[in-house]
Amino acid sequence: MNKHRSNPLVLYSVDHPGIVAWVMGLSTLLLILLALLPSLWPATFNTLNPLRVDTDPENMLSADESVRVFHNENKQIFTLRDMVVVGVVNPSHPEGVFNPASLKHIHELTEFAKTLTWADPKNPEKQVGVVEVDILAPSVVDNIEQGGMGVVNFSWLMPKPPTTQEEALAVRKKAQRIPLLNGTVVSEDGLAIALYLPLTDKHLSYQVREALLEKIAEWEGSGDEFHITGLPVAEDTFGVEMFYQMAISAPLAMLVIFLLLWWFFKKLSLIVAPMILAMVCSLATMGLLIISGNTIHIMSSMIPIFIMPIAVLDAIHILSDFFDEYQKRKDRRETILYVMQHLYTPMLFTTLTTIAGFASLLMTPIPPVQVFGLFIAIGVFLAWFWTITFIPAFIMFIPEEKLANFGHQTGDAQDSGLMSRLLSATGQVIYRNARLVLVGTGVAMVVGMYGISQININDNPIKWFDTDHPIRIADKVLNEHFGGTYLAYLQLAPGDSTETVAEYAQGMQQRLKIQGSVLAKEGVSNSNGIFGQLSNQVGQAVSAVKNKDALLRVLNDYINEQLNNVSDETFVVWDEAQLFVDSERQRDEIFKQPEVLRYISDLQLYLVSLDVVGKSSSVADVVKTVYRELLMGKDEAFRIPDSANAVAQSLITYQNSHRPHDLWHFITPDYRKGTVLVQLTSGDNQDMAAVEQRVKQYFQDHPAPFALTHRWFGLTYINVIWQEEMVAGMAVALAGSFVVVLVMMTVLFRSFLWGFLAMIPLAVTVWIIYGVIGLIGKDYDMPVAVLSALSLGLSVDYAIHFLSRSRQLLEQYGNWRDTVAHVFAEPARAITRNAIVVGVGFLPLLAAPLVPYQTVGIFIAAILILAGITSLLILPALITLLEPYLFRKKVGG
């Protein structure tokens, strides 16, 4: 190698340090301004993208993902909205909230919630906020009951707060008789009440919650406890906590890195450089993220804390080397050029592998994960660029005399520090016990394999909050009392009909004949003749029409023509004929058919028999309730009536209420689609997935009428889907990044064997870490999944440095035995420092209030530290054993 051939970029930076510093400063400032200005003055800078926060878990799937499209479609067709849920309990009263005082508060709170609407800032004509007509609360839902003397009574459940304890208990008794209310509004244990406040837009939940909290504060000390939860609330809280994370953990990481660097180098003027670098890279990357219109999301909010420790890694290598080399040369320019020259290639490759690791996340189908991977990759590139330009430039700013007593005074790589002594001893031990190290690794791998077999794939966004978080507490309290706060919906729709028009026509002719004779028996004259006439019409029309609807239209037109000019006598028959055609049309209204409702009813019974399902609701519950009350409220009448007409008439009776529109949350007005609302007591993805499996099996075992199809939606289900996609996507990303890194290593070392060698420690690390995850029973969740792929690119860095320096040194010393000691001097120290910096650098994530951040912090620290250890243990052991193969060429040449 030519000593004087430095990289032109490095050389330029060394010669023009001022320009480099200015360019870096100004470009970063520009990015910050471009992001900041539209965020602070959105009106003035409306062509630029302002900072946007995204806490919507749906966005874990891309907007055109079929599950999500289906979810949103169904939310619309069944007018289902995001809700704030207020759970009310009163542990100090033996009847819970069923006492006059508590019910008065609940009544007042409901009235108050109705007023939580505001003029839409975009359209002042429109009101936004709580959707009054869909609120579920005792005072705004209908009760249906016996009114004495065979009278059925439809009225508000609790029109005004009761004044006596008896009345309070009566409210509970009434509500518990109504399946739609029991376990939803009134708890099954009869102690708690939940209010459901649907929102026009979930982003108003913060406003609504604040207003509710203020109102609730009036009743402090009354014994009533109010728990506000619901997905929108969780999301908003999430947004706030995300900023906490960025505001606490990121600066804390800076501080930790600073202290570590101080400990390593004890030279403030020097370690300022990597600190500036870390700052510049994270700010510039976040700036780019905002400028490009991406959002701050649970994933992207971690970008700064990822970039900071990674950004300083290369700088640490440079400083480490500079630290060791400076006293030999006593010339900063010559030293930095020397250091840069022999670090250039490993730095380039470590950067490329890191970029590859993060970029591999682009292979997952989860948009926020893609953004996270992409922007860290960009940040890592920036870090590399400024490392090879700004760090040398910065060193040129330090006056030579200030460096006089910097670094190893002796100029000898041997040092008496604890780390150095430990490392050099390690090197010797490994050289002598190479086989033992590998056996140990093998044992660890076997244990790891068992651990991996125990891995439990599961996630639950509510558990992203700490256990003592108000949302977790609300979640716990509500799920103790109610049928479950995790909602999933099962959409039911008729399957494709295989019946041809001809077959249908034949059936209809049959029915015409029957109806004709039925009418004849009822005394309608000429009914057989006219219905026979219709049957002929059907026979004539059938070949000319495309489908059933067209056939009915033809028939209806014919009847209307007759109706216009018939005598009074035959009018009755023709009217009956028209009625017949209408009833034929209604045969498609399958959610009025008793067999469909019975099927749903049975399915619901099956659902609640499952452990995690607390309750389910459907139109079948409505029909059964109304039917029972029409039949004197007898328990045995709590069933689906026997004809579609009876169902239709029960439903129209139900709709004579204050809230006829409630029905349309369960079925569409054409009675062609329906939903079953399933309340789960657990939001764990594995529980939802199990329910999904069982229901699928149920449909297989119990063929549904009309070949009913079933398909899930609702957020609890969406979570399962994105988890599945994440797990599958991560496997691809992991494999992808492994291959890419392996190829890079092979290119770097110009040898497949060496390339493969470089992959071993990180493969072992990832293997063991995931084994540990399985062993300790930590769920394989979103953060754990994300870490696997990206950690490959990061942890291969040690192997690159170790192997490339080993090769360089071996050239110098001729054989491995003599080289070991030198490898375990400066190179091992740099690796150790790196491992400590990145490892410890991520630990401030533990201070973040959300569990996924803590998980990321602890696992990435564990991976990086373990990768450092395995690199320093396994690589020298392998080289010791494989020396003849690895260095064959060198020996020969």
Partner: protein, 273 residues
Amino acid sequence: MRIFRQIATLLLPLFFLLPLMASAVPTVDEIVQRSNMTTYYQGQDGRVQVEMMITDSQGRERQRRLTILRIDEAKSDVVEGQAYQGGQKFYVYFHRPADVSKMAFLVWKHLEQDDDRWLYLPALDLVKRIAATDKRTSFVGSDFFYEDVSGRRLDEDNHELVETTNSYYVIKNTPKDLAGVEFSYYTMFIHKQSYIPVQVEYYDKAGVKYRVAKALGVKTIQGYPTVTKASIDNLKIGSKTVMEYTDVEYDIGLDDALFTERYLRKAPRQQLR
């Protein structure tokens, strides 16, 4: 000649006075009584075929066809002294959709007590009495309330003439008892000539307009100004119901006996066609 001129001179001012007298503003009470009579009490009985179209916020439509028969207790249409007012009976019979055909409601509207309401469900072969303490519930799933069909008692509200425009008296009606109703007040735009409330706007307790009733078509039938098409918009839910009234007939001499439980099961087909 002289005498004619004298008469003319005497009568001339009357010609100017006549229109003035006609447009003299009636009292609030007169306006609401007249309007009430026009809307609910014209003739001693009546029959109407109703085409009902309910359209939800997503444009999904449901159709119903029914016949409403009405008979008044008070056999008078005289507004003075409120002679027209009294109990009424309504018979509501369903034709379509097919699965609710032959279903029937019977309502006995009383001025001094809660109404009586019966329901006949042919598929269940069941006549059921329905408690009707609350008349502001949906009329068969539509945006109309029972009260919109049978009328709201005038003495339940305080009436106030807030404006007189070229064509309308604008009356603000505030309920005496806020507890039983979902509105805080409603404003009626009553047509000056016909006394038909052309538009009624309901305001909720936050003062937001949430419900609008409109008369979309008016015809004079048998000398009675009659609404032939009416709609109610529920602005909170976004749904709308339009009722079209055809074959309106008054004073057809309906038998009071038809309006009994007995005729629920055995519908008077002749009267319903």
